[in-house]
């Protein structure tokens, strides 16, 4: 075990990464190279098939459309509307799930009772709820927000409940025997213990929420990237559809790299640190 760790730490090519500037940026260079290869294949296939640009857009026509949509003020409005819906849906869904997770988790009997139900609802995709939401609330932003809350809340809630149930009862008893109140048990034991589970659920929910956003905007919105994607296909302007798709991907990469990964890393490091201290 220690030998393997030693090899990983010292030997592998990545060990040189810190010393050579080019190697340090290798993951980024490789990532960009992956995109470049796909774009090159896309351009070659467009030339080889010789289809109309309206039917099979080329990278250049997509770039042209991207610039045009920004110049006309169309893309920024769709992006900001989608972002506002996404952020509010994910934030509300997360808060609701964490509050419910901790409340259910306070009583193991209730937590065990709720876990199969939460798991059952987790499996029912938001797409199947949207027709009902439309019937109950009509077309509009409410439907998209509800779909986003739903799709974020269940993975987070499920993982929080699992986390709460995995906390050894002896920890809770130990803190209680020292005179801790219920609030202190939550703050000092439950919340730190469920953080890694929470991050797993949050990451899954945040990813699902992007898909729910597109679907919701296709059905129940007049703005947003989902609407742009759908409108482009309806107008047979597939370049617009592809611009919408690429914008969606770029936004997700941005969220993932800038917020989710650092947050997850920080959470896991903190968790590791706590475990290390306990062991030491």
């Amino acid at each position: 075990m220690s030998t393997a760790a030693g090899v990983i730490q010292s030997g592998a090519p990545w060990a040189l990464a810190g010393r050579l500037p080019l190697r340090r940026h290798m993951p980024l260079i490789l990532g960009i190279a992956g995109f470049a290869i796909v774009i090159a294949l896309w351009e070659i296939s467009a030339l080889a098939f010789g289809l109309s640009v309206r039917l099979y857009p080329t990278p250049l026509s997509v770039l042209h459309t991207f610039v045009d949509l920004i110049r006309k003020g169309i893309l920024p409005v769709h992006v900001t509307d989608s972002l506002a819906r996404y952020v509010s849906g994910v934030a509300i869904g997360t808060v609701v799930a964490v509050v419910l997770g901790v409340l259910f988790g306070l009583n193991r009997f209730v937590a065990r009772m709720m876990l199969p139900l939460v798991n059952f609802l987790y499996a029912i995709v938001e797409v199947s709820w949207i027709p009902l939401f439309v019937l109950w609330f009509g077309y509009g932003p409410k439907v998209i927000l509800l779909a986003l809350i739903y799709v974020v809340a269940f993975p987070v809630l499920f993982n929080c409940l699992t986390g709460v149930l995995s906390v050894p009862q002896v920890y809770v008893n130990a803190v209680r025997s020292l005179g801790a109140t219920r609030a202190q048990v939550i703050r000092q034991v439950i919340l730190p213990a469920i953080l890694p589970n929470f991050m797993t659920g949050f990451r899954v929910g945040a990813g699902f929420a992007f898909r729910a956003l597109v679907f919701g905007e296709v059905i129940a919105a007049q703005t947003g990237l989902g609407f742009l994607i759908f409108e482009g296909a309806q107008m047979q302007d597939t370049s617009r559809t592809v611009v919408g798709m690429i914008s969606m991907g770029v936004l997700w990469l941005f969220f993932d790299r800038v917020y989710l990964r650092p947050l997850e890393r920080a959470t896991l490091e903190r968790w590791g640190m706590i475990a290390g201290e306990g062991q030491g």
């Binding site: 110049r71 006309k72 003020g73 169309i74 409005v77 007049q222 800038v258 650092p262 947050l263």
Partner: protein
């Protein structure tokens, strides 16, 4: 607060984005004031309908459905051509907000009918 948190990537990127938004907001406010001056607002005022303007929104491109929908939200459409849209009954506040949009070249008073 922990200095490490302030230097973390999420915080730095959020601050950079906030600075960009703030800079854009300032620039658009300045540009908007040039596109629609107080003198133009006075000339565009509707007869017998104080606080409402009749304006011609000049665009650097041919307007699309997207632009018509947004412009209809703030006033009554009264014609359009390849690079402009005429609007009636627009509030001063909405006209000033429209002038701040970077995709609007200019806003001029609409000629009387």
């Amino acid at each position: 607060m922990n200095a490490g948190v302030l230097k973390s990537r999420p915080v730095l990127v959020t601050l950079a984005l906030a600075a960009l938004v703030f800079a854009y907001w300032g620039w658009s406010a300045l540009a908007g004031a040039h596109k629609l001056t107080d003198a133009e607002i006075a000339r565009a005022a509707e007869d017998g309908n104080p606080g409402r303007l009749d304006i011609k929104v000049v665009l650097p491109f041919t307007p699309e459905q997207f632009h018509f929908m947004r412009l209809q939200d703030i006033g009554r459409m009264a014609g359009a051509d390849a690079s402009s849209v005429n609007l009636r009954g627009v509030s001063v506040k909405a006209a000033r907000a429209l002038a701040r949009r970077y995709w609007v070249s200019d806003i001029v008073p609409l000629e009387p009918q």
